[in-house]
Amino acid sequence: MTEDEDHLLDVAPGAPHDNLFSETLLYIVGLALALVLTGVSFWVASTSVLWGPGVATGLVVLAIAQIGIHLVFFLHITSGPDNTNNVLALAFGVLIVFLVMIGTIWIMGHMNANVGMSPEMMNLQTQH
């Protein structure tokens, strides 16, 4: 089994293409999209045109979109059959990341709201 045949069946994350023009173009498109999304993020955060309470959610959506751009255009993670291993590993990573983050924020938020403290205790606490 030669290296060339292997490339037809599996690719490594971030592995380059064969055509100079197409792979450079891929990076340029990725850079342009990432710059646009970054610009929109900073604009959304500074403008007062948008509905205030929705801004934070919008920013998170923009960040997830930009992470997707980085994965596709810089790390070359695709839906192709040669990428199955990379995508599966990524899917598992994303699962754990969301479990840890959402689980912690959910549980700690409820603890903060529901575990009542007497005023004397509150004074000893460093929170707020």
Partner: protein
């Protein structure tokens, strides 16, 4: 290869005997970056714990400075663009290295490093300014978690810059050998991943933290 040899397990021809499919183990050019990809994903799990800690403690300011008083969006915008361009240029270095072009490879790698240094210098400046104002990591739980999260990312960038220096030296001394190209591919995965983590940091810490 005869079918007999395959069935008695002398080759990688059969899936029953090797457990590695019909083709045997993958080549190193696949296995090494894939293993590194797994490490990078586990690093993201580490950062997710730091993000969760930060989100839990962000309001625990102990009467000290809050996010709105501390963060400067203009500096963060420059940092963000510097790191994004660094990631982009690192990809160009990968393209040049694959074609064994020493001048362009080293040139793009130098630019990658310089942009990384711009990012790191601004971060150091920001940290020094905060600590000078009495907003160091020991001031409140919020600031402890802030310095842990952002500092951990900065430490990764620092390690990446050192790695980048050794990659340039290896290309210079040994040329474009397969195993050195594999190392550069791993470095580029690492560098792009740091930019992905920074997207989370500038959104959650700096932008959402400074909403009016």
């Amino acid at each position: 290869m005869t079918s007999e040899a395959a069935t008695i397990g002398l080759t990688h021809g059969g899936s029953e005997d090797t457990g590695l499919g019909h083709r045997g183990p993958e080549s190193k050019s696949i296995v090494v970056p894939y293993g590194f990809w797994l490490f990078v994903l586990s690093d993201m799990v580490l950062f997710s714990a730091l993000f969760a800690t930060y989100a839990t403690l962000v309001h625990a300011t102990d009467g000290g400075p809050t996010t709105n008083q501390l963060f400067d969006r203009n500096l963060v915008a420059i940092e963000t663009v510097a790191l994004l361009l660094s990631s982009f240029v690192c990809g160009l270095a990968m393209i040049a290295a694959k074609r064994s072009n020493m001048m362009w490879t080293q040139g793009w790698l130098v630019l990658t490093g310089l942009l990384g240094l711009v990012f790191l210098s601004i971060e150091m400046f920001e940290f020094a300014k905060m600590i000078g104002e009495g907003a160091g990591p020991q001031r409140s739980a919020f600031l402890s978690s802030f310095f842990t999260l952002v500092g951990c990312h900065g430490a990764h960038v620092t390690a990446g810059l050192l790695w980048l220096g050794t990659m340039m030296a290896q290309f210079w001394a040994k040329g474009f050998q397969q195993h050195i190209l594999r190392r550069l591919l791993c470095f580029s995965i690492f560098w792009h991943a740091l930019d992905i983590i920074w997207v989370g940091i500038f959104t959650i810490v700096y932008l959402i933290g400074t909403l009016p």
